[in-house]
Symmetry: C2
Subunit: 334 residues, 2 copies
DNA sequence: CTGAAAGCGCTTACAG
DNA sequence: CTGAAAGCGCTTACAG
């Protein structure tokens, strides 16, 4: 491996001078610059980012922790992040937590040791306990670099920038649309309400019902954990009710899948029940399937998160920014 | 930020000694170890991986370049990679090429500057030109670390380890299954044959036809580029043929989507035409849709690729390993 | 058991 | 315009 020293020696100059041409300093003689450039070409030399960063006390990598790398939702988000990071020459160190908080912590530890410039973070789901919360907080602080939280808000972390979705409004709009087209028995398959996400969605659902004088009926409320399996079980319960709902709100894409799985298994006709889901499931577009959804550009969420992080890095003292994405309803069969 | 020097000073020992306890060296007095450990705790000190790596002339990160981060296919692969890398304490620097070879090159350049320990690489699709090929080869070599190629073989790169899929066999089996259930007019929606992937799949398809004495009919062969859009256009042509095929082989998941889009748009009944696709599309499982697929565990492909890379790093001189994943047919409606 | 010194591959005042 | 020297935060012979 050829280093700056090798080039310097061969060119009969100091490392300082080579460093200058590497960094496009103007104060180097045109002839020596020429000579050095040629040698760099000749040996196909590139400076070590590691060494440079260490010397400059800088970092050129940002960390990303997401819960499900193989969920296209997060894939798109990641694409948004990568696209903007690439533009500014930053490199992405990526971790998949699998929704396990232990993995979150582990990733945080490694990221810290790598001295990242900043973090984009979608937390694992289970930070309900006080102890875990303060632990996470401690880890995040010890990172000593800015973090922007995406999609899943942490109520005990009110000092970080964030990009979130207007879950309350989304659930409200969806429920309202169902009501307006005549539905009264509307179920919701959500997650346990210790998560902000779930709470907000629940709130929107209930508010819409109340405002239209429809009783909020516990038997139509199903709280799982946003996994397909749990949603499948709950959906079976839901679809086996004496008095079946005529519509259902599925609160994330895994939940939607679980719902459809149950529906197929029980053998319920597609026309019998209307579904509105959080987030589109692309493959379903190409079929006449009774599926409506709440749309949001996850790609933009990723981009926005990256932008926020860059802003924060540039200007550490700016007031906290919380960016809220607006929902859009896509209604096809209702 | 607290460094090894700070700890050393506070403990009245040398950096060497601190380094020793950091690295669990046995030759340090129990008392001083105790003292140092306490200080490390107290200051919540962690050593800088960057500095350590520079000093040891090592690297703890591997690079990954994939073409479509938001395609669940690659998401799963990435999960496989990350899972095993995490176990061995390696960190993943990830790039999304968007199937653009310029981005491949750019990523390669950055990876090189970061002195990665190894690379797992699924090339962008368009390395057909000689010039591009030798350029890529040069870049890969200048990386000066092992690379394992995944899913898309590069014929001009026969010295790298790889994890591939038995595309020929998969297409053969699928076509054969169709023939055996009575189909004779079988279309294929593939990609241009300058790609190995496409060529292999084409070969399997044609071989099955020939072995069963069915004419290979050009009008049933459609070569696109594995994007949904192109596949959609080709599918329209296909489905508008005078003499429609009764079955079709769609050669990747995007292609399958394009096919179904066209089918819906033209208004062809689900029962009119049988489809076998490369790779499952999960959401379709939950509906009675006329879809069969060729299954492979992409997660395992990722894991396998990671394993190969680790092996190669440990033992640079072992003979080249090429691992071939076997296809499995999942037939539901045929 | 411990430490001084040199080194990893860079950059950056500082002096000339 | 150029370079010697010190430094970034670590590790590693080497000597004691």
């Amino acid at each position: 491996m050829v280093t700056i020293g090798d080039i310097a020696k061969e060119a009969n100059v100091s490392k300082t001078t080579v460093s200058r041409v590497l960094n496009n300093s103007s104060l180097v003689d045109e002839n020596t610059r020429q000579k050095i450039t040629e040698l760099i070409e000749k040996y196909n030399y590139v400076p070590s980012t590691i060494a440079r960063n260490l010397s400059k006390r800088e970092s050129s990598t940002i960390g990303v922790i997401i819960p499900e790398i193989d969920n296209p939702f997060f894939g798109e988000m990641l694409r948004g992040i990568m696209d903007t990071m690439e533009q500014v020459g930053l490199t992405v160190m990526c971790f998949n937590s699998g929704d396990k908080k232990e993995k979150d912590m582990k990733a945080l530890a490694i990221l810290r040791q790598n001295g990242i410039k900043g973090l984009i973070y979608t937390p694992a789901i289970d930070y309900s306990g006080n102890e875990e919360q303060s632990m996470l907080k401690k880890w995040l602080q010890s990172l000593d670099s800015p973090v922007v939280v995406v999609d899943r808000e942490l109520e005990f972390l009110q000092n970080a920038d964030g990009v979130f979705f207007d879950n309350e409004l989304a659930a409200y709009k969806a429920t309202e649309a169902l009501i307006q087209s005549g539905h009264k028995k509307i179920a919701i398959i959500n997650a346990e309400l210790d998560r902000i996400l779930a709470r907000e969605r629940q709130r929107g659902y209930e508010r819409a019902l109340k405002e239209h004088n429809i009783e909020v009926n516990d038997k139509y409320i199903f709280l799982g954990d946003y996994t397909e399996n749990k949603a499948y079980q709950l959906s079976k319960q839901c679809l086996n009710l004496e008095e079946k709902p005529t519509a259902v709100l599925t609160c994330n894409n895994n939940t939607t899948m679980g719902f459809f799985r149950a529906k197929k298994e029980i053998g319920i006709e597609d026309s019998e029940i209307v579904c509105i889901g959080f987030d589109n499931i692309k493959a379903l577009e190409f079929f006449d399937i009774n599926f409506n959804y709440i749309e949001r550009s996850v790609y933009s969420m990723g981009k926005k998160a990256a932008d926020l992080l860059l802003q924060r890095i540039k200007n550490p003292d700016q007031p906290r920014i919380k960016y809220i994405i607006e929902p859009k309803l896509v209604i096809k069969h209702i």
